[in-house]
């Protein structure tokens, strides 16, 4: 179904497309090294990148044992005043803990040599859409993040089972209180609606019955891990998808993934995230067949997608609106600067609509055009100005220092004496894509007004203009 991209078409634009979609972009040098590899090896370098997790040691977080100490102190406290004080202390620690965790992940995305692993982890985070707003335990959120990473390019059924036992998920969808005589339906509903089948492919009865199979799933607060509480589990007969038996939660998941609809649902979501919106029917069918035939092997499926001619189609390349996280990663990589100040990062991701570990609701981020409102678009433009000069007053940006942009590397002296030369040079770095004729003419008009060789101010201002465009929002 997916014919591979003919090797002779492989060029800088297509290599950049792979780098942007399978990862978070990079510099012209990064792109050129992919060009040299050829498409096969280039795709392979993403799928089989070495895990460099040891470079990103576990963030400083409030651990389960420490949390228990707070709980014990709260219990032992004699006045409501004291209890409030202890809760406040815990709240502050938890807040710092969450900031550390978020920064840890964003830096891992920014610097890892295995960017697809992080990109896929981000995809699954949006898919399972668990928010610390309810979980309120950064250690659990970190555990979930590690679980998503472990299975990100593995087998989806394994991941779904792992997520049913994931403490953050258990709290997020109220599984921890679900017991034999009172099954809670929240997880049973969402596991089908949001995680595997989509609305309309199961009945209310299926939800009520499968909820019984997910009873007894608990969090062990001593360790912060999952535990199974036998006495709360309903071992009785459940009727699910027209079959009856003493099903467990894992049995339910096996029955769900056996539905061809599950492969279609997951396949379409993968395609929309990595390739393009509104895939045609035959594409969904193709990717679903692939998933069913390889046992939902996500890495293998992505390898096929990234090698296919469809992935490099003109309808896909430079047609996706960057998510806020993608925008920040691609921008800082392209500018060769570190991530901005933590406060700026925190506030900006909120203003742009993508706070990791805090998706807006159970269905995650809508993506695509929903990233763009009048205000978020203006914020992107201002964020670019802030990163370039430090002078735009964006949220949290007061009294922060911005990194110095290596303008001599980005626009070396050799390209500063001709407008065409400078423009070609900058546009490849910024857009990874050829300029439209009309845009090119406007930028040239701008450059004509400035003396050669172009000064740092001219280069920086031009970059600010280039980044304040619809074009720059695309990848």
């Amino acid at each position: 179904m997916f014919s591979p991209l003919p090797e002779k078409l492989w060029d800088r634009n297509l290599a950049a497309h792979l780098l942007d979609r399978a990862g978070f972009g990079g510099t012209p040098a990064d792109i050129d090294s992919l060009v040299l590899m050829g498409p096969g090896k280039a795709v392979d370098s993403f799928i089989h990148a070495d895990d460099d997790g040891d470079l990103f040691p576990k963030p400083q977080m409030l651990m389960p044992a420490e949390r228990l100490v707070y709980k014990q102190r709260e219990k032992a406290a004699t006045t409501e005043e004291q209890r409030r004080e202890i809760r406040k202390e815990l709240g502050n620690e938890e807040y710092t803990s969450m900031l550390n965790l978020r920064l840890w992940w964003l830096n891992r995305m920014r610097y890892t040599a295995a960017p697809l692993q992080e990109k896929a982890t981000l995809f699954w985070h949006g898919h399972f859409a668990t928010s610390n707003a309810k979980v309120n335990d950064s250690y659990m959120m970190w555990q979930q993040n590690e679980t998503l990473r472990r299975y990100a390019l593995g087998k989806f059924p394994d991941m779904l089972k792992a997520m049913s036992r994931d403490p953050a998920m258990i709290r997020w969808l109220d599984l921890g209180q679900s017991r034999k005589d009172h099954p809670n339906e929240n997880f049973a509903r969402e596991v089908m609606e949001l995680f595997s089948l989509g609305e309309g492919h199961y009945t209310e009865k299926d939800i009520q019955e499968s909820a019984k199979a997910f009873t007894g799933y608990r969090i062990d607060y001593q360790t912060g891990y999952f535990r199974f509480q036998e006495k709360d589990f309903d071992p009785g007969t459940k009727t699910f998808f027209d079959k009856s038996g003493p099903f467990t939660g894992d049995d339910i998941i096996d029955a769900i993934v056996a539905q061809p609809q599950c492969a279609r649902f997951i396949g379409k979501k993968l395609w929309v995230f990595f390739v393009s919106e509104n895939p045609p029917e035959e594409t969904i069918t193709g990717i679903a067949e692939l998933l069913l035939s390889n046992g939902y092997d996500i890495g293998a499926t992505l390898a096929t997608i990234f090698s296919s001619a469809d992935f490099y189609s003109p309808h896909a390349v430079h047609h996706q609106i960057k998510s806020p996280v993608q925008w920040i990663m691609q921008t800082t990589k392209m500018l060769e600067i570190p991530l901005p100040d933590a406060r700026v990062l925190e506030n900006s991701l909120a203003a742009l609509g993508q706070v990791v570990f805090a998706p807006p609701n159970v269905k995650g981020w809508d993506g695509g055009r929903a990233w763009i409102s009048a205000s978020s678009l203006l914020y992107r433009y201002n964020m670019a100005a802030y990163l370039l000069s430090g002078k735009a007053r964006i949220l949290g940006g007061g009294n922060t220092k911005t990194a110095i942009i290596p303008l001599e590397t980005i626009a070396p002296a050799s390209v500063r004496s001709g407008s065409d030369q400078l423009l070609d040079h900058l546009s490849f770095r910024l857009f990874n894509y050829p300029l439209q004729t009309k845009d090119r003419a406007t930028y040239l008009t701008y450059l004509e007004k400035h003396p050669v060789p172009y000064s740092n101010d001219t280069v920086r201002d031009l970059m600010q203009i280039m980044m304040s465009t619809p074009d720059y929002q695309l990848t």
Partner: protein
């Protein structure tokens, strides 16, 4: 009297004269943007300092209670033993209820809303819902936002269709403002309508960051000018967009065109909104919550004379599956105090009679509490309508707590009747064009 056409040409000239964009756009406005202009030019034409009077247009404020508000603990059927039987842990004590009738009353924290009732400004419509209720947040929110039947997927929002149908001709001042980071799906339409922002001070282009701000500003604007619809080299696949329903529909030209239109709208409205919010202050204290801030902002925009007729605000956190008593109490308190401040503010401005506020939530919650001291997703629920033009009281009957459908209250009023009433009787718009068919109007206005 000017004909609608003359009037729009006139305001369009005004806009081009007064706009921050100056003459730059006058010769490049593509045809497909005309409709957007008809909406936005009125905003530009109005003087920011103008204090509006009761003679000006009516305003609709839509308040979304996101997550599925527990309607039963909001308008409480305290006169029914079945209520206390179904909710042994979370039923509210009879003595605390703010009584409306011998059967139903408001949550004890809704004192401000109860005051509104006493003053004759609150309507409570009971048992609002739709056939074949859906208990998914995603899907049910979508149904409310698009006013579609439960078994149909519609991409455009009901307010978006109102803008499309009514935002032209003699009264083009009907663009919407949503307070929040993302444009609500209710606004989604074939062309970008309305703006969304949470803080007006961030809602502007900061060209001063460049070493040559004037030139950065000029070229930024030039780079964001809409191209002709035929100009783009590739337009997107335009299949159905299931799964992406909360974004604008995709039969709307290319993504680049979408971004250009958004940028243009942002430039034009940012100037106007900033001028107003910098000048206008509330004389009333609002609670320091997201809802309080949002309603404060809406009040200032109304005071400043923004001719917008539709505002959209939201309050989140209503998905109370576990230990719901304290969290729901906080939500009710916030809702009540923020609404109360908003009403005082509008009254002080002399604008209270122009404003109708409708609250909605994607669904109510199950009649019986769950084992976690919370409630699971349900169906029908009561809905509030508030404002100077509202006829107060209870509408419809409280649904039976024992004659249930799948454990949930049965609906008696279709939510689209509420929309139709607001459209016809408040905004003066033909509801059938917006909602696709005639729904019976309700007597709350």
């Amino acid at each position: 009297m000017k004909s609608p056409k003359e009037q729009s040409l006139h305001t369009r000239r005004d806009f081009l004269r007064t706009s921050v964009l100056g003459g730059a756009l006058a010769y490049t406005v593509p045809l497909f943007l005309e409709k957007t202009f008809l909406c936005l030019d009125t905003m530009a034409a109005a003087s920011p300092g103008q204090i509006t009077t009761g003679k000006d247009g009516t305003i609709l404020v839509v308040l979304q209670l996101a997550g599925g508000n527990d309607g039963i603990n909001t308008l409480v059927p305290f006169g029914d033993d079945a209520y206390y039987k179904a909710r042994p842990k979370i039923a509210l004590p009879k003595a605390d209820i703010l009584r409306i009738s011998d059967y139903a009353g408001l949550h004890p924290k809704l004192t401000g809303i109860h005051d509104l009732y006493s003053q004759g400004h609150l309507g409570m419509i009971q048992g609002v819902g739709y056939p074949n209720p859906n208990r998914s947040h995603f899907r049910s929110t979508e149904i409310w936002q698009t006013a579609s039947d439960a078994d149909r997927n519609v991409a455009e929002g009901w307010l978006g269709r109102y803008f499309d149908n009514c935002c032209q001709g003699s009264d083009p001042s009907s663009v919407g403002v949503a307070i929040g980071g993302q444009t609500p799906q209710a606004f989604a339409s074939s062309t970008p309508k309305g703006v969304a922002f949470s803080n007006p001070e961030q809602f502007r282009y900061m060209s001063e960051a460049a070493s040559d701000p004037n030139s950065a500003d000029m070229f930024m604007r030039q780079m964001n000018q809409p191209t002709d619809a035929n100009h783009s080299s590739l337009s997107e696949n335009s299949g159905g967009s299931i799964g992406m329903l909360s974004g604008p529909s995709d039969n709307d030209g290319s993504t680049v065109e979408f971004l250009q239109r958004t940028a243009l709208g942002a430039e034009m409205s940012s100037d106007k909104i900033l001028a107003i919010t910098r000048k206008t202050k509330s004389t009333v204290d609002y609670p320091a919550s997201q809802l309080g801030n949002s309603l404060n902002l809406v009040a200032r925009l109304i005071a400043g004379g923004l001719p917008t007729r539709v505002y959209y605000v939201s309050q989140g956190g209503f998905d109370t599956h576990a230990n719901q008593l304290p969290s729901h109490e906080r939500l009710m308190n916030d809702l009540s105090t923020a609404t109360s401040s908003f009403v005082q503010d509008l009254k002080a401005q002399g604008n209270f009679n122009r404003v109708l506020m409708i609250s909605f939530s994607e669904f109510g919650r199950r009649v019986s509490e769950n084992a976690s001291g919370g409630t699971d997703h349900g169906a029908a629920a009561p809905l509030f309508v508030m404002g100077g033009g509202v006829k107060p009281g209870l509408y419809g009957n409280y649904p039976s707590l024992t004659d249930l459908h799948d454990g949930d209250l049965k609906f008696s009023t279709d939510f689209r009747s509420v929309y139709a009433t607001a459209l016809e009787k408040w905004l003066g718009a033909p509801s059938e064009m917006v909602l696709g068919k005639k729904y019976p109007l309700l007597p709350f206005i």
